[in-house]
């Protein structure tokens, strides 16, 4: 895990800072003179060997010094923090709502595999999963902003946090993501329902509801759990699109703006944070799987 992070940090440094004159141009602007750029490189220690620069950059990075954003002229660490907080709010609601919906729908269709209800839920979830975020965002904006006129079409949080500005981004992300989770949950539930201990529980006369809630559901949760946590990686991609669409002042929008602007230090920091979240979620998924599944824990 640490090896992967190190490799990625090295690749990023290679991509963005191996051409040092380019760095100077980005920092000082297109219209700076060559002399100014060379002077800037001299002053900021860019004439040291590549490896020295990388190691120094890495140490600063680990200590939380990400450099200064060229675009916003503020420390990157502060900007990343602010934007991450907003994205955290968004992600929290998306995750909570998505998981609740997919749990209910997944169980409902999984316990009656092949029934009309199961088919309807499956088709519905395929339908919503086929709508990429920017497509469903378009449709929701058409309905809620232009037609019903009850929600704002952008979420810049110009005057602080507003509840009605977060509704559409959450709706869009939930729509795209819940289908996948539902199908996971359904498959897992359907498999557990055919297992022998569930049959035993039903035959021994326990109420059906109790069998589902107590015996089946707990075991059915193990497989989807790992997938759900791993999905965080994909959720982040969706978050970027949604935030760009709604100008939601979050991490995704910040990353996008930095990448498009060529704000080197900001992209490096954002990418590392994104990768860190992804790698961490992988780790949590592994650990969680072991904790949830006694068969692995005790073997």
């Amino acid at each position: 895990m640490i090896l992967i992070m190190l490799t990625i940090s090295f690749i990023l440094f290679l991509i963005f800072e191996s051409d040092k004159l380019n760095v100077a141009t980005k920092v000082l602007g297109e219209y700076s003179l060559l002399d100014q750029r060379l002077l800037w490189l001299e002053q900021n220690g860019y004439n040291d060997p590549f490896i020295t620069r990388y190691v120094r950059w890495l140490f600063n990075f680990i200590q939380g010094d990400f450099g200064k954003s060229i675009q916003f002229s503020a420390p990157v660490s502060k900007l990343v923090g602010e934007h991450l907080w907003n994205t955290g709010i968004l992600a929290f609601w998306v995750f909570t709502i998505t998981i609740s919906i997919s749990l209910v729908l997944g169980v409902l269709s999984g316990i009656a595999e092949g029934s009309f209800r199961d088919r309807a839920i499956t088709v519905f979830s395929v339908l919503t999963t086929s709508m990429p975020e920017f497509a469903s965002a378009t449709i929701f904006v058409a309905i809620f902003v232009f037609w019903l006129d009850i929600l704002p079409g952008t979420s810049p949080f110009a005057s602080g946090f507003r509840w009605n500005e977060i509704v559409l981004p959450v709706l869009v992300l939930v729509t795209y993501n819940f289908g996948y989770y539902t199908r996971m949950m359904r498959a897992s539930m359907a498999e557990v329902m055919t297992s022998q201990y569930v049959r035993t529980a039903i035959l021994k006369g326990l109420p059906y509801r109790r069998v589902v809630m107590r015996h089946a559901l707990r075991n059915a949760l193990i497989a989807p759990f790992t997938v759900m946590v791993l999905q965080l990686n994909y959720l982040l991609s969706g978050v970027i699109v949604t935030e760009v669409f709604f100008s939601y002042k979050g991490f995704g929008l910040f990353l996008y703006q930095s990448a498009m602007f060529g704000d080197i230090y900001a992209i490096e920091a954002c990418t590392m944070v994104a990768v860190f979240v992804a790698v961490l979620s992988q780790f949590i998924s592994d650990v969680g799987y072991t904790v949830l599944n006694p068969r692995i824990r005790f073997s």
Binding site: L12, N233, L236, T271
Partner: protein
Amino acid sequence: MTDTTAAANRAPKPDSILRKLGKAILLMRESRIGMFGAFLVLFWVMIAIFVPLLPLHEPLTITRGSSLMPMLSTDPTGAFHWLGTDDRSRDILSRLLWGSRLVLFWATAATLVAYTMGMLLGVMAGYKAGWWDEVISFIGNVLLSFPLLVLYLVILTSFGANSSAGQWLKAALGVDSAVIAGIMIIVAVMFGTAPQVARIVRGLVLDLKTRDYIAAAEVRGESPLYIMLVELLPNARGPLIVDACLRLGYVTITIALLGFLGLGLPPPDPDWGKMINEARAWGSNGMNAMLWPAFAISTLVLGLNLLADGIREISLRD
């Protein structure tokens, strides 16, 4: 298994491909969902192929005086616009249908390249094991640790058509910047998708290589290359076909997504994602120009997803 393939190779095969296709279609009929998916996909493929023959306005010509017209309207010159016009008076229906070409072409090309790369790496990692496996799996893990879109953003902003690398490539190959943008998209998609494919193929190969027919081929003295390409890959195709179908859907979304983010094909090409992005600035006037590309991309991806479901359903039944 090897005997039968060898026999099939020797025997004359007058109708193998056509018959196989026919069989596949017959099988497809058993899954209603799959049929509907196939219908949606075929619809867009047909449009992409035959769009030059349709009686449409020019998708790229910019005229004056009839911009942002609503659906079903006639402009001052008497031309009728089914879906209205955009901010440069271009016919939206025509741009939408021509857009299917771009999306389908680049999505298919990118998926094919990524799949080939992923399959080769996966089969190498699975069959050769040892160092090969370590190295390939590590590179794959590094790439998979990037959230996909972040990877695309980094690749396309650093090496895209507008970067110095892109300019250099453009000069070296002497082609249009649209082609460079397309190639860069393919490369980016390859980096994002090939590791996932490689991981799946590796898993399948690890299982397949313990089979008797692989041992037989080894005893026969076949070269590792022959075993990997002729014995292993064709036998791993079942799950791969379903995955390829889903993957094509993701890549289609990706292509449109990059267009939406302004990283796709350069203007004035009518790319669905870009159409949505442009229309976003026009407020309620752009609603119509925004909704149709959104429906188009959703139906195409829905078709691919349902098709994959259908194929999976049928392959599980056998």
